[in-house]
């Protein structure tokens, strides 16, 4: 696989949130606005990128039968570092993402990439894979957040273009499920089209 395709496969073809259906809790939980989606996506990218790099470096030092707990400790430490950084420099974002920051530890995308990719590949490839997957996740969350924000509060990235309230249901829980359902259907279609083009 070329370096470029490792980086770009996470965007649509193997998008972690929309095709692999991983990491659903933050995907649904924090995307009531585009900014929140973007922030959560970048926070997760930070953790996937670093955990992929660290795990691909230390993969030969870890005995096989304790590799999952070892990965979890690496990921949990990175999440703790992220938590402290956000608290210090971006307290507003930390406040709005709340519980979902510590929950990056149990986000299956991070452990999934560590297990499926970083434990078998070199440092550079793992970094590209982590970055690609993270950006794909960010893209999915930002689009989902933007659609919900447009329909639910009549604004995008906090820029109001419609006076009055939107359809409040889209900011609340039901809208998250509904919009994600349609988004998954659209992405599936797109990725099928891409496959056909390659053939």
């Amino acid at each position: 696989m070329s370096k470029l395709s490792i980086l770009t496969k996470g965007l649509i073809k193997e998008n972690p949130a929309l095709i692999l259906i991983l990491g659903m809790c933050p995907t649904l939980g924090v995307t009531s606005s585009a900014i929140n989606g973007l922030g959560m996506g970048l926070a997760t990218t930070f953790v996937i990128l670093l955990s992929n790099v660290i795990i691909s470096v230390i993969k030969n030092l870890i005995p096989d039968n304790v590799h999952i707990p070892a990965y979890i400790v690496v990921i949990a430490s990175l999440v703790t570092i992220l938590q402290q950084l956000l608290k210090a420099y971006l307290p507003a974002l930390d406040e709005s993402l709340g519980l979902f920051i510590p929950l990056i530890v149990v986000n299956c995308i991070v452990l999934g990439r560590a297990e499926a990719f970083a434990s078998k590949n070199g440092v550079v490839d793992s970094a590209l894979d982590g970055l690609g997957m993270g950006l794909g996740f960010t893209l999915a969350l930002t689009v989902l957040g933007a659609v919900r924000e447009v329909l639910g509060s009549g604004s995008i990235f906090d820029l109001k273009f419609y006076e009055g309230d939107g359809i409040i249901g889209f900011v609340l829980a039901p809208g998250a499920f509904l919009v994600l359902g349609y988004l998954v259907a659209v992405t599936k279609k797109l990725s099928k089209k891409l496959d056909k083009k390659e053939e």
Binding site: I21, A76, G169, L172, A173, A176, L178, A185, K188
Partner: protein
């Protein structure tokens, strides 16, 4: 009276799956059949109550040592080893329960409901151990309720004609959306 409020609000109003979005992966993954959904909910209830009680005291210990920023690492390690321990103990003490919950137990480590509820309880300064246990148990019941209803709906969905592009995951999410809408009706109870 306080307990009643905790129970009602965490089962119906702030349902752990449909309002707080925790534990969505198993919600989508194991909710094809009502029986598996019940098994999973039982396992989650069991682990969640124990984990919340243990992490409740761990949190106090961390705070008294002034290292509460270690919360995430400490909690996930405690939960992961607790799941292992529960599995071993169950195997020995109650083989029939172990048979019933068996395959679901290891999955729970990565179920964010357990870690999520533990962190939530750690953040509530007014909660004592009794409130913590009630909160965990009623969240688990809410989880089981959502999972079982959803599994029932999906069993029906298998038989219905769905447009090709929407089959599988997309229609499941839309069903969940409608279910979440129904649960919004409980908001007045709080």
């Amino acid at each position: 009276m306080d307990y009643v409020i905790i129970i009602i609000s965490s089962i119906f109003v702030n349902n752990v799956v449909l309002a707080k979005f925790l534990g969505i992966c198993p919600f989508m993954g194991v909710s094809n059949k009502v029986n598996t959904a019940l098994g999973m909910s039982g396992a989650v209830a069991f682990v969640m109550v124990i984990a919340t009680l243990v992490t409740f005291y761990i949190q106090r210990l961390l705070v008294s040592c002034g290292i509460d920023f270690m919360q995430t690492i400490a909690f996930i390690l405690v939960i992961a080893s607790l799941v292992q321990m529960v599995e071993l103990v169950l195997k020995k003490v109650s083989p029939s329960l172990y048979q019933a919950l068996g395959i679901f137990l290891p999955l729970i480590t990565t179920n964010c409901t357990v870690l999520g509820v533990a962190i939530e309880v750690a953040g509530k300064a007014t909660y004592g151990p009794a409130e913590a246990a009630v909160y965990a148990l009623s969240n688990a019941i809410g989880y089981g309720l959502a999972l079982t209803i959803f599994a029932g709906l999906r069993e029906q969905l298998e038989l219905s004609e769905v447009p090709e592009g929407m089959r599988g995951v997309p229609i499941a999410f839309i069903t969940a959306g409608i279910l979440a809408m129904a649960f919004m009706g409980f908001a007045g109870l709080a």
